[in-house]
Amino acid sequence: MCPCVTDHPNAGGDDRPRFAYPGAVPALHAFANPARFLKIARPLTPILWWAGVALIAVGCWAGLTQTPADYLQGETVRILYIHVPAAWLGMGGWSSIAVSSIVFLVWRHPLAMIAARAIAAPGAIFAALCLVTGAIWGRPTWGTWWQWDGRLTSMLLLFFVYLGFIALAQADRERDGDGRIPALYGIAGTVLLPVIRYSVVWWNTLHQGPSIGLTGSSIDRALLWPLPIMLAGFSFFFGAVVLMRMRTMLAREKAEARLRRRARA
């Protein structure tokens, strides 16, 4: 039987936390209460949305007009400012699915699976955008749209893994499953993330090596500065989309639970 949000011990109209998880982290469950989540999500959605739109607008303006052309790649380097955020969200989206899946499996909170399902479609779209913008960047830079090298192929695999998760989560929901199989799949899919990250180190690829790391970047500051703006903008935008999708799913679950109660009455 599907552990519906509205049947959950933490569901309900009031904000008092009613924890039924001995040994669990109370703070985590306080935020996982659907009523409390909605109380935070409703005002947070437009804030994230407008912050994301504003930062993306500034980042596009800066990336297209305020930075110099690269000495080697020329003007095509400007694709960096949308390609890197797309890759960041494609990989970050899957990391979030994995974390949500762990939370779901450990504490059995259905809001975690709703979060994973909400992240999957925008994550897949950004993984696809990373592949397409990379191909558009590759044509004038490498002379080819596509190469079956480690980085490109592993990113393509991540896109297919996203599609698999979407199909599996949908099938699980339609069959009234308990969500464990998509959650396990969400955790298993993380093996791809280090492969994508280190593919340019492990194999001789057409894709350039790692140019941004924890200790710094090999990209000149004159070219790099719009990138954090775009990363922040797209991250806020992604957050707003995920919140909208979670609110949609919660509203539908609530409506379905109401129908079930009426059918039983």
Binding site: T76, I79, A121, T133, F234, M244, R245, T248, A255
Partner: protein
């Protein structure tokens, strides 16, 4: 090779796709929360 069609094409595609995702998500949310 003129790079600008590639640059503008990549930006346009990303921004249009992002706008469609946002519009679709907002519309679904609005309908569900009615």
């Amino acid at each position: 090779m003129n790079p600008w069609p590639f640059v503008t094409g990549a930006y346009a595609l990303t921004l249009v796709a992002a706008a469609v995702v946002a519009w679709w998500s907002w519309r679904q949310m609005r309908d569900a929360e009615k």
